[in-house]
Point group: C2
Chain length 115, copies 2
């Protein structure tokens, strides 16, 4: 299927996902904003406007997405100029039960300005 | 009671504890090591040896404890030269249900070298 074409960018295997890297990746306001976006499902664009972060440069968003992917929070498939990003919910739930849900449930407490 | 003497160092009120600061405070190997220590109960010494972090300087440990306290993870009471540190379990459970338990339960996955 066309939707599955493209190249998956490097990410850690589930058993290699490290707690400290996941927490570090989450401990940033922009990345919590991105978590909020991706917690709603796969997202097809990395354009700052589309992600609700119009005040950020595209390269800044890419930088944060790279940190999230390398920590094991997200998967990214590159197809042409598009990036398909999704949370690794099942992997994270298997590795650190309850962690992602607790963070996502706490997001309403978080001022998600993405400064 | 003598045990309750001393001065509580500044910390945020429970309603002012911010998710991003808590996650940032947790996203560090030394601070996860300290979390592991304090998750077992109140601890009476901040000496690196007593905390299982003999390779760290006392000032380094103090720096990390300050970040944890200011994020709302821990309370610290100063009495003379002693520091009494404890996790703010009830406050964190009230503010971000399930978060602290998920992190503590995930600690065995964490290489707690405290480098």
């Amino acid at each position: 299927m066309a939707e599955e074409e493209g190249e998956w960018l490097p990410q850690p295997d589930v058993d290699d996902i490290e707690l400290v890297k996941v927490l570090h990746a989450l401990g940033d306001p922009v990345r919590l904003s991105l978590l909020k976006v991706y917690s709603t499902g796969r997202h097809f664009s990395c354009a700052p406007d589309a992600l609700g972060l119009p005040h950020l440069h595209k390269s800044t968003v890419s930088h944060h997405l790279k940190i999230m992917r390398e920590a094991g929070l997200t998967s990214t498939r590159a197809s042409g100029r598009n990036r398909y990003v999704e949370l690794r919910r099942a992997d994270l739930d298997a590795r650190f039960p309850g962690l992602l849900d607790a963070v996502i449930n706490a997001l309403p407490h978080q001022a998600v300005s993405g400064k």
